[in-house]
């Protein structure tokens, strides 16, 4: 589910960035609408905290607004935005001096959640489980899975962000999913 897919006939990101640089607020608004879901889902998957993801999402776009002149390749706006999101999250954790507190979250076992709770709450609980599972992986694996499934970026863009080749990213994805699956089976997390 690539939430940043540009529909036919829409202005490309590069053109919107150039318009925004010229002072077109609406162009920036269009960029926001196009990419906010991807950024939000990426932050959500990595942080397991909806409120934090929303707050950081705003920070990300404010940072993008201020740093728009520093973007050398307007066509790479999405990838640049995801880098900002990553940096914002890292800064938040640095300030907090800790990762999300796992012990403060007590997600119910998924089987119980699906039968006894409303769908939205159960989905939220399951999201927490998935995000906590993700915390068990290394930094690069977390970023890759969050970019792939949260933001919906294609693997070649993710490879560029991680500074590796596409085949290497594919291998990393494979290993990450395998480890995540093994961890989930051990702890009864993902179904």
């Amino acid at each position: 589910m690539s939430s940043s897919v540009q529909a036919a006939g829409e202005r490309p990101d590069a053109e919107l960035v150039r318009s925004a640089r010229s002072g077109d607020a609406r162009a920036f608004g269009l960029l926001y609408e196009r990419h906010v879901t991807a950024v939000f889902r990426y932050l959500l998957l990595r942080s397991a905290d909806r409120q934090l993801a929303e707050d950081l999402c705003q920070d990300v776009f404010e940072g993008a607004m201020d740093g728009l002149a520093g973007l050398r390749e307007p066509a790479q706006f999405r990838a640049w935005l995801m880098q900002i999101a990553h940096n914002r999250l890292q800064s938040h954790w640095s300030r907090q001096r800790r990762r999300p507190d796992r012990q403060s979250l007590e997600p119910p076992r998924p089987r119980e959640a699906t039968t006894n709770e409303m769908p939205e709450r159960a989905l939220e609980s399951r999201l927490q489980v998935e995000a906590l599972m993700l915390q068990e992986l290394g930094e690069r694996e977390q970023r890759l899975l969050a970019l792939r499934f949260g933001a919906g970026l294609p693997l070649r863009e993710i490879a560029a962000q991680l500074g590796c080749s596409e085949p290497a990213a594919r291998q990393l994805q494979y290993r990450a999913l395998k480890r995540l699956r093994a961890k989930a089976q051990d702890e009864g997390g993902l179904r």
Partner: protein, 371 residues
Amino acid sequence: MKRRAGARPEAQRRSEMPEPPAMLGPEALDQWIDGFMADSKPMDSIQDSPPTADRSTESHSNADSGSMARTARALSALPAMDPDRQAAMRAALEARFSLTVGSPRSSDARASADAGPMPSRLDGLARRLGLSAGNLRLLFLLLTLLALAGLFLQRGNPERAPASETELGPALSRDAIDTEADSAAPEASSQLQPVAGSASPAGTSRNSDLSAASPASTVEISAAASQSIHRTPEVQAQAADEDAPDLPAIALLHATAPPWPASKVGRAATERFSLSGYVRDAEGRGIADAIVTAWRIGDAGFFVQRSEADGSYRLELRAGQYRLHAEAQGFAENWYDGLGGSQQRDGARTVVVPAVDNNPVDFVLPQEGGR
């Protein structure tokens, strides 16, 4: 489990879902993921079953494929932001955009937005030169004013009208301009002060941020032309000759030109200064592909660069005060503090750009441990 209204029957959806790869393999799995990511709709039910994995006699491989496929689908089933919050955020961003980026021209921009993109001739020329249309317009204006103000520049160090802090960017002051023009190292450090009494209200908070920075913690980095700091090629190209005080010309521009929008994105960022150094490990070996980030103090701006194979890096920064951060795979992150580095942001030193000391900004990253 209830289905949401409008959901398609599960049998129909399942028949449309791409099957997971029969054989285990990273490439095949990735192709399958591409398929379901492109075709997948918002999940209607959390009980949606993944594709069955029963096509191969190698049951172990298929169990892995199927389970990994289920994991992938579970990860992709994420909620979106609350629509009200999303709309409120957009409104806040556009309001902030109008105030900080395009305020005098935002109404014009909206009026012309429906008319389409920038004029094609200017846009085409900008593309050929590798500049934005806004920067190209500024370049034309600079050249015109340089031609008209030749006699004025020959006076040397004329009195200049106070430049709006926000027109020049958050921390680029007149005195910083004087520093660059004179290339006088001893005087420069004492002259590098925030602009006082700036007219623009938008600049006030930024001035207070700068003045709040502790002088004792400020580290000034190599200045002007010679070593770590130099002008970007586009700024150099604007000078009549290398000795011509083009910075006074910029100040003149802001003193006499029409009032460009304050802190206009793309205009305030014309002036760039290089900051360079090395990212090394504890043994002194350069670390390739380290990510070096310069976080500007006072606003949300930042600049990112990767180190080269030998660990060297170069950042092109707007004038201002920064905290510098480096990270690399397999190493602990590190904030520059002028000493051995700090793992806490609070321990970072403020780096002023441009500045006068002759020290490159180097990082030493300890090995990652305890993660």
